[in-house]
């Protein structure tokens, strides 16, 4: 019996019978992936007009990028803000998720809902709200303001990941540690944290990406010497098709691919 005539499901449908499904899924997956990677060959083109496939190859757009003070400064800003956001949002979100998960207080659910509002409120509204309020507080165009705003966007993601991790973890282990004389803090750091550490690492990576890729809030509240990479990219996209963007995009795709594969690797080690 060949693969073609083998039953594929419990209903005795054969692989041949639903070959159309495999073709459809393959096409959709290609449609998802190709636009993500198409920027890679284009970034090595010599032409201004992004013909595909490129007629002559060159690294001139990378030279353009690495040689430009504007792009370099924006990149440094974005990396700086991403790193600071990760350092703030990961502990903040983990702390809040742990507290709300173990407290069992009536208010815990309400506080959780309050803390994930940044995922429900349309980002454009957060952006103009922060722009207005930060203007009053003198936080526009500052690193502090950007880190604060990006932390607010990343914290709900951290909380959701950590809460999911705590759900699949047996809290009794922490009780055992405490009944043996460990303080709650010690029990958390020595018993609980090592067991949810993979989720904490994933949450940290996701926080970095959330900040690094964030566009709309940055358009409004970043500027001057603290303008982010995404702000400059968006401006360049609206005006004309600058092939330098292809080079930057390729670097960004590389960064997110590495981060994603890291989490997948962590995930497979965990299970």
């Amino acid at each position: 019996m060949s693969w073609w005539t083998q039953p594929a499901t419990q209903t005795q449908i054969t692989h041949g019978d639903r070959f159309w499904l495999y073709v459809t899924a393959a096409i959709i997956m290609l449609l998802l992936v190709i636009p993500t990677f198409i920027v890679v060959p284009m970034s090595f083109s010599d032409s201004q007009y992004l013909a595909f496939p490129p007629e002559t190859w060159s690294v001139r757009w990378y030279e353009e990028y690495f040689g430009s003070r504007k792009w370099m400064r924006a990149t440094v800003t974005s990396v700086k803000i991403g790193t600071l956001t990760t350092l703030v949002a990961t502990p903040l979100g983990t702390m809040a998720a742990y507290a709300l998960f173990v407290s069992g207080h009536r208010a815990a659910r309400a506080i959780f809902m309050l803390l994930i509002t940044p995922m429900i409120v349309p980002v454009i509204l957060i952006a103009i709200g922060a722009f207005y309020a930060f203007g009053r507080m003198g936080l526009n165009n500052s690193i502090t303001g950007l880190v604060l705003a990006h932390t607010a966007m990343a914290t709900p993601l951290v909380m959701i990941l950590i809460t999911a991790a705590l759900r699949s973890y047996d809290l009794n282990q922490e009780r055992v540690a405490r009944s043996l004389g460990a303080s709650r803090v010690k029990a958390f750091f020595m018993v609980t944290l090592p067991q949810i550490k993979f989720s904490v690492v994933t949450a940290a990576l996701l926080s970095f990406l959330t900040s690094f890729d964030e566009v709309i809030i940055s358009i409004f509240i970043s500027g001057g010497s603290n303008a982010t990479l995404t702000k400059h990219m968006f401006a360049a996209l609206r005006d004309f098709i600058d092939p330098t963007i292809a080079a930057i995009s390729t670097i960004m795709v590389a960064v997110s691919t590495v981060l994603l594969l890291t989490t997948q690797f962590i995930g497979s080690k965990k299970s």
């Binding site: 459809t24 899924a25 636009p35 993500t36 507290a99 604060l148 691919t257």
Partner: protein, 302 residues
């Protein structure tokens, strides 16, 4: 004898009071751990959005007024913006359902060792900057872009057609960006369906098509609705992709808000539009919550 018993009872009661007090204190200390997060969210989201809410009710003379909301009903341009937003969101959601359902079904029925590999096709775009993906579509869809070249080579059309800076380009880009948001919760729901259910259905004589529609599909609906809802709600407030791929021809609420601020610097009008957007979002979520029960699928990211 009786005296000892009552003393023990008293001691126990005292103990209980003390223990209960201790537990309450501990609960409060624990809740206190969430205050830094609450502070950040309050400074960035809650207070500013509240402020905008207030601004939307302040007229040009500085007094309380409903003028910004009245304009929204009276002016035709606003009606057009709302229509476009609704249309784009609905169409994007429909495209995502049509493409996402077979894909999620395919992924949910893969043998375990293949799942991780094929899941990357959904996760990779999900993790890639939406600015990068929007840019890629801009390049692919342009007049001399790859898609026009390809279509002319195989003879689909003779001269380059306009695929970008219009509704078509916007929908293509939006659907590409939103698809993972639909597939991930749907995949989660499909994974929870017991294969035995389908086995039982076919055992009882249902044809594969009938057991799919009568058994499998109803069980996957909660995941489908959760995914469709996330997509719809995200589309309502979307800014970047329509702004770049729509080329000024697809004006959605978010685009209109920035335009008002950029050209008129009218905070009242922009806030009012934002408030309407927020209410629409909450309204959709609330209505859907009444008809369907959701678990963590709604917020299951990555």
């Amino acid at each position: 004898m009786t005296q000892t018993a009552s003393t023990t009872g008293q001691a126990q009661a005292l103990n209980e009071v003390a223990l209960a007090g201790q537990e309450r204190r501990e609960q409060w200390t624990l809740l206190g751990l969430s205050t830094p997060a609450i502070l950040v969210i309050a400074i960035v989201v809650l207070v500013p959005v509240g402020w905008l809410f207030y601004l939307s009710f302040v007229g040009s003379d500085g007094e309380f007024s409903l003028e910004h909301y009245k304009k929204m009903i009276e002016y035709k341009s606003y009606a057009r913006v709302f229509m476009t937003t609704f249309q784009v969101s609905l169409l994007t959601t429909l495209i995502c359902i049509l493409l996402g359902y077979p894909l999620a079904y395919f992924l949910a029925h893969l043998p375990g060792r293949w799942t991780g590999l094929f899941m990357l096709a959904v996760l990779l775009p999900f993790w890639t900057s939406l600015l990068v993906r929007t840019y890629a579509w801009l390049v692919l869809l342009q007049r001399k872009g790859l898609l026009n070249d390809l279509a002319m080579q195989i003879g689909l059309w003779d001269s380059p057609i306009k695929l970008v800076h219009n509704m078509t380009g916007t929908l293509i880009g939006m659907a590409h960006i939103m698809l993972p948001f639909l597939v991930l919760p749907l995949y989660g729901a499909m994974k929870k369906i017991e294969p035995d259910m389908m086995h039982a259905a076919s055992n009882l004589g249902a044809s594969p098509i009938r057991s799919f529609w009568n058994v499998y599909f109803p069980l996957s609906v909660s995941g489908l609705v959760a995914g469709a809802l996330i997509v719809f709600v995200l589309c309502l407030g979307f800014y970047v992709t329509p702004a770049v791929l729509g080329g000024g021809r697809v004006v959605m609420v978010a685009t209109q808000i920035t335009a008002i601020l950029e050209y008129r610097f009218d905070w009242g009008a922009a806030s009012a539009l934002g408030v309407v957007l927020l209410i629409a979002t909450i309204g959709v979520l609330y209505l859907a919550g009444r008809f369907f029960k959701f678990d963590s699928a709604l917020f299951g990211k990555g």
